[in-house]
């Protein structure tokens, strides 16, 4: 019977040969299901409507920000409850201009999200110790180095960890294990966001082309008649 480690390793190897495929572990890892795609696109659309992006009165930057906001909220909503999704919403609501949008889109859920206390912030004192321990496992795999460079390596890991914490929403208050776990989930969600936005773009582009060609076709025919 396959142990869990074997299962993970095999799946990882399979995933390695298909660069664009998303990991499909059966357990805690995120999967881009049809339900996720639907939820994301639906939320995007609701977001567009709420901020009225299709009206001509908006400036380019304003519309772009509204689109980006819709996309991020859509990603968080479609994913459900994770540390990073809560961190993302919390981060967005720090800006005054986003609050009415969030209130509109999330409704009651928004109130509840704000009320939820941040338990993970209590772990901050343990943070550094856990990060160092959890990543020491990786360092052990390296060839033996002099003491000095060992210290340097740990400092570099520390530095990179801080960078990662700033990139992952809510990362600042996560311990080492949570950080890696949430990073994995966040990256999968980001990839899905990119793919879905791309397909939305393609859909809108092709619908524009179709409606445009329908309009100009009779004119084109008329211009040939003269010859």
């Amino acid at each position: 019977m396959l142990s869990r480690t074997h299962f993970i390793y095999i799946s990882a190897c399979v995933a390695a040969f298909s660069p664009s495929c998303l990991l499909s572990f059966s357990v805690a890892a995120m999967q881009v299901t049809e339900a996720f795609k639907h939820a994301f696109l639906k939320q995007m659309l609701l977001g567009f409507q709420a901020s009225a992006v299709s009206t001509n009165s908006m400036g380019f930057q304003e519309r772009k920000n509204a689109i980006k906001l819709s996309a991020d909220v859509a990603m968080a909503v479609a994913r459900g409850s994770r540390k990073w999704t809560r961190g993302l919403i919390a981060g967005l609501s720090e800006e005054q201009q986003n609050r009415s949008f969030l209130q509109l889109i999330l409704g009651e859920q928004y109130e509840r999200r704000l009320m939820k206390p941040c338990y993970s912030s209590w772990k901050i004192p343990r943070c550094r110790k856990i990060v160092r321990r959890s990543l020491r496992v990786c360092c052990r795999r390296q060839k033996k180095k002099k003491n000095q460079s060992g210290v340097l390596a740990r400092t570099l890991v520390e530095k990179r960890t801080q960078q990662l914490k700033r990139l992952v929403p809510g990362g600042e208050s996560m311990d080492g294990f949570s950080l890696l776990d949430e990073t994995l989930d966040y990256v999968l969600s980001l990839r899905a966001q990119v793919d879905l936005m791309q397909s939305l773009l393609t859909t809108v582009e092709s619908s524009k082309l179709r409606s445009h060609s329908k309009r100009t076709l009779p004119e084109r025919k008329a211009s040939y008649v003269g010859k």
Binding site: L45, R141, L164, D181, T183, L190
Partner: protein
Amino acid sequence: MPVEMSSRRSSSRISDEEISELISKLQSLLPESRRRSMSRASAAKLLKETCSYIKSLHREVDDLSDRLSDLMSTMDSGSPQAEIIRSILRS
């Protein structure tokens, strides 16, 4: 049967095995081109590559938002929304 991650976290000790699992998952997450330069996975390299990958994904989202904004600026309000709804219902 694979065990839920949340039940693991309730015990104070997180095993090295679980951490290695996460790290190998993270590594396999990176796109081919980045992974090739990481023949031996040092923790610092993995973190660095993950950070730069996340940043590049952020840039992609930003670029796609630009293009969507561009596209939607020259749209009549009626038909494209309907088209989007139809494509969502179709997929």
